[in-house]
């Protein structure tokens, strides 16, 4: 019973990683860049919800929608002003810029909201579920996180495979030049990818802070890095890969904490990543691109 409870908690944490990892992997797939500021968008999203609920007294759902809107705009603005001018520049330049944007967001948050941690009140109003005669308790946050994760995943797969914009994203991720020749506007496709990824980051932020209720300017950093790990683990560029990678990472982390050592949990997570990459350099579900010459 204990094992089952850890497993469910692992899937729940993993769902959050998966939602964040989707942002990393989609942006990587389309723009071929690692957006290290993605984790900090989560933090901004969480602050927006915190302010909307605690200071403006808005209902949680409205707060989440507001936060998604703010993060969408933030994602588009970051892409437009930090990354778009570097299109065609070396990937190292883009990477360093992304790290710069990450620090910029953290320090802006520090300036605006201060360094002291805020205690985030959970926005989930669902009571915990008691199963097996009270032996297994699943919190409302856990249930909501898993359900939201599954919905986002299904929605995204549907969007990519069945809508015109989704198909455009697939085409751009494979060959920007050829996509342009089909009449696809590459710039707006990239902007839209950032918008979707950032809106998802807002959702992830709310879920994360509802389960782990401390909010400070560096809140997004560690989950961001772990979700990035999850994206690489699953095969960067692959949407199902991000999901599988995220869930597995969450389970590994919780299990390590429960059965091995709380302090070593993060080390174990990254060690697993290294082993996976040694055996399968493209990640679990990464595509092997075979090119015909």
């Amino acid at each position: 019973m204990e094992f089952l409870s850890y497993l469910i908690n692992g899937i729940s944490l993993g769902s959050v990683y998966a939602i964040i990892a989707l942002g990393y992997t989609m942006v990587y797939g389309i723009a071929k860049m690692l957006n290290f500021a993605h984790g900090d968008v989560i933090m901004v999203g969480s602050y927006i919800v915190f302010i909307a609920v605690n200071q403006m007294g808005l209902p949680p759902l409205v707060a989440i929608v507001l936060s998604m809107a703010v993060c969408t705009v933030l994602g588009i603005v970051i892409e437009r002003f930090a990354y778009k001018p570097l299109r065609g520049a070396s990937s190292l330049a883009v990477l360093i810029t992304a790290i710069g944007v990450s620090y910029l967001l953290q320090n802006l948050a520090l300036l605006i909201w201060g360094a002291d941690p805020k205690s985030f009140t959970s926005v989930v109003g669902i009571p915990p579920l008691h199963l097996a005669g009270g032996q297994l308790v699943i919190s409302g946050e856990t249930i909501v996180t898993i359900v939201v994760g599954a919905i986002i995943m299904a929605g995204l797969i549907f969007f990519v495979n069945n809508t015109k914009m989704g198909r455009a994203m697939l085409a751009v991720s494979e060959d920007k030049g050829a996509a342009q020749l089909m009449g696809i506007n590459v710039n707006s496709t990239i902007a839209m990818t950032f918008a979707i990824g950032s809106a998802l980051a807002a959702v992830a932020g709310v879920l994360l802070c509802s389960a782990y209720p401390t909010l400070q300017p560096t809140t997004g950093a560690m989950p961001g890095i772990k979700a990035f790990t999850a994206a690489v683990f699953g095969g960067i560029g692959s949407i199902p890969g991000a999901f599988v990678g995220g869930i597995l990472l969450g389970i590994i982390e919780i299990m390590s904490k429960a059965y091995i050592s709380t302090q070593l949990a993060d080390a174990i997570v990254f060690a697993v990543l290294i082993i996976v990459l040694l055996v399968r350099p493209t990640g679990l579900m990464g595509k092997k691109i075979s090119e015909k010459v």
Binding site: Q180, L181, I184, K287
Partner: protein, 238 residues
Amino acid sequence: MGEMLRVSDLNVFYGSIHAIKDVSFHVNEGEIVTLIGANGAGKTTTMHAISGLLKPKSGTIDFLGSRISQMEAHKIIRLGLAQVPEGRRVFSQLSVQENLSMGAFTRKDGATAIANDLEMVFERLPRLKERRKQQAGTLSGGEQQMLAIGRALMCKPKMLLLDEPSMGLSPLLVKEIFKIIQDVNKSGVTVLLVEQNAKMALEIADRAYVLETGTVKMEGPADELANNIEVRKAYLGC
């Protein structure tokens, strides 16, 4: 026969390399015009400048009365100017049919019209129909070339730019592809063909331009150029 495409005094740089120097040529409606020349003569660069993937430094390109020299690539195709790029560049992760519907991305005339044209492309290129569900990356070189042509036809172009369609194909397949190009032209699509295989290109073209290190060296009716001593020596090997 009106003029469809006119390129005037075009100059294009590839980084710091002056790849195209004062190139001018035109294509009339209904024609097959070919640009021939050796590797590095500037053929593909010219194509990219026309389709908008490269921006010219100076000079103008006009297509059916619109100035397209500084227009973005995704807008140029909407005017009815489609490119079959060098190296085919099909979307290898997508199926044959998905590739073809990608070609119809800009169309707004409804699903029925697009489905009809899909059938028409399948009729014209029956091998694609057999493999409609197959991933494009698993097709042979010749099939990928057919797919790239079919994909470009799906946008209902008035003019087709073809960049080295014979590249890497066996002589038999080259013949097949060139037959397809002729058929497409007969159905009313104007063709600008860039080729290293000068012999084949001159056989099907109405007029030709010879590009050498970024400039137009010679021009004229294709059959005349095919009999020109210099052209024969340099490009036909006889």
